[in-house]
Amino acid sequence: MASNIWVLAETWRGQVTETTLELLTLGREVAGQSGSQLEAVLLGDKSLAASLGAADNVLCAANVEPTPEAVAAALAQLVKERQPQAVLVPWTNLSMDAGALAAAQLNVPFVNGCKDLKSDAGTLVAQCVVYGGKLEAAVSATTASTLFGVLPGSRSAASPGNAPTVTDVAVTLPEAKVKFTKYLEPEAGGVDITQQDVLIAVGRGIQTQDNMELANDLAAALGGAVCGSRPVIDQGWLPLSCQVGKSGMQVKPKLYIMLGISGAPEHIEGIKGAQVVVAVNTDAAAPVFNASHYGINADLFEVVPALTEAVKAKKG
């Protein structure tokens, strides 16, 4: 029997993240292909193991602080002792530095930006997004116990299932040189875009701050809110709490309309929960059209006013 497939359980403010559950679904597939067991590695609060029932076993070290340094040291130690076949690590802001550091300590690759992972004749092959999503690489590693950084949205989330078996494991941590102090909440006052049914997302293509009015008008007509991709937030045209994507919010609206967004994977990541996705972009080859259900290849400055009017007319 091949050695186990591991998933690093990511916890965020007292909860196991959605991405962790997705990785458990993927991990289960991979474990099935190689005839091995699926284990989750939970570093921190043991009570969270209840959410990890999709795994055959949970390895839990309760004494680990949520810093990349501590998580990496604990993970590296466990990998050395137990030699899993591979470790799936969420490719998120929360975990990517810990994954990279653990791999560095183990002298194994941390395979970046995997959207898929399969066993091919006993070797794991990852499908990785590179060059800002312009290309994809099929990557295998020559080492045992390789770490794979898996993008959110690779699979749908595994349901918690029955309470899993939990194996307590001990790790010895080095003296902490990176200490967590506190959380800083985003500026308040804006709408909570994660709770909206309709979102109008604006990107670089909106060009200027006062063009934001076009998006506001459309949002008003549809009864939704306006959000944006990173460049728009960087410009200060929307508060940080309205940023959608990898470093922003994960949103799940019923309708998501993207205006002048190229469709970089960092943004698309944030909208995997959206039900109907529409893109308006002047570049017919923009990757955003690969991530949407309906596309309009035209100037947003022409389409949006027309769309606003058409919505108003339809709604009466």
């Binding site: 530095d97 970046n112 060059y131 690489a137 990557v139 990176v178 800083l184 994960q250 309009i296 007319a313």
Partner: protein, 254 residues
């Protein structure tokens, strides 16, 4: 404070990227390289820190096409020294490159901080910042968006999801993987870069030792399969808008 900044050049995706005949690597015939965006932010953060606390900023980079222009620009922005690593093998992975760069960085110590981008467009087998931190045995944290120094620790903000950031106290010296500087990277007038080219020199060091072998194999490199292309709504803007509204109404979204 002394700050080392590790930069790398990555393919410029403004140009179409093409896959070479082997199906596994980039076609370099029309390839242009550009400074990795997050490394540019790391440089900006370093210069902001220098402006606040004084000290020196030293930039380190592997040789690449157009690297000299980039390094002169970093000096025009405020870096004090630029060190170029020459004679490195071609086609190194991130892991291999970090092995060489880490040794060069070690030779330039002492430093209070080593800053580099948290990730790069072309990383496949690891992240430079973490790899270099491991080599130097320095503490490391990534996805950094602000740094306040002063004293034996730095206060570092790491960005999480949803606009929430975490504050960490990091014992110096440390390696930080920068996601974004506190301000967007500054503009440097061309005349200033040209002046720096006349007065400043780029130092060079030969790549030290062995970069080792790649621990990954790229089996295939390809443009993403367009499996789920959007249904395109054609016609004038008004016509396309009309079609969309009908579709949304059918799905009960209005």
């Amino acid at each position: 404070m002394n700050i080392l900044v590790l930069l790398k050049m990555v393919p410029d995706v403004v140009e179409e990227l093409e896959v070479a005949g082997d199906g596994k690597s980039l076609d370099t015939s029309f390839l242009r390289t550009i400074i990795n965006e997050r490394d540019d932010h790391a440089l900006e953060q370093a210069i902001l820190l220098k402006e606040r606390h004084g000290g020196k900023v030293t930039v380190v980079a592997l040789d690449a096409p157009d690297i000299d222009d980039t390094l002169f620009a970093t000096m025009a922005k405020g870096a004090d020294r630029a060190v170029k690593i020459t004679d490195a093998p071609e086609g190194m992975t991130t892991q291999m490159a970090a092995k060489l760069c880490g040794q060069v960085v070690a030779g330039l110590l002492p430093a209070d901080l080593v800053l580099t981008g948290v990730q790069a467009l072309d990383d496949l087998d690891g992240l430079s910042a973490a790899l270099v931190a491991q080599q130097l045995n320095f503490p490391y944290i990534g996805v950094v968006t602000a740094v306040t120094a002063g004293g034996p620790t730095a206060t570092v903000l790491k960005e999480f999801a949803g606009g929430v950031r975490g504050e960490f106290a990091v014992t110096l010296p440390a390696v930080l993987g920068v996601q974004a500087a506190e301000k967007p990277p500054r503009y440097v007038p061309v005349a200033k870069v040209r002046a720096v080219m006349k007065t400043n020199k780029i130092e060079t060091v030969s790549a030290p030792g062995d970069a080792g072998a790649a621990q990954i194999e790229v089996r295939q490199l390809a443009k993403p399969v367009v499996s789920s292309h959007a249904e395109m709504l054609e016609g004038s803007p008004e016509e396309a808008a009309g079609k969309l509204v009908e579709l949304l109404a059918q799905r009960g979204l209005l």
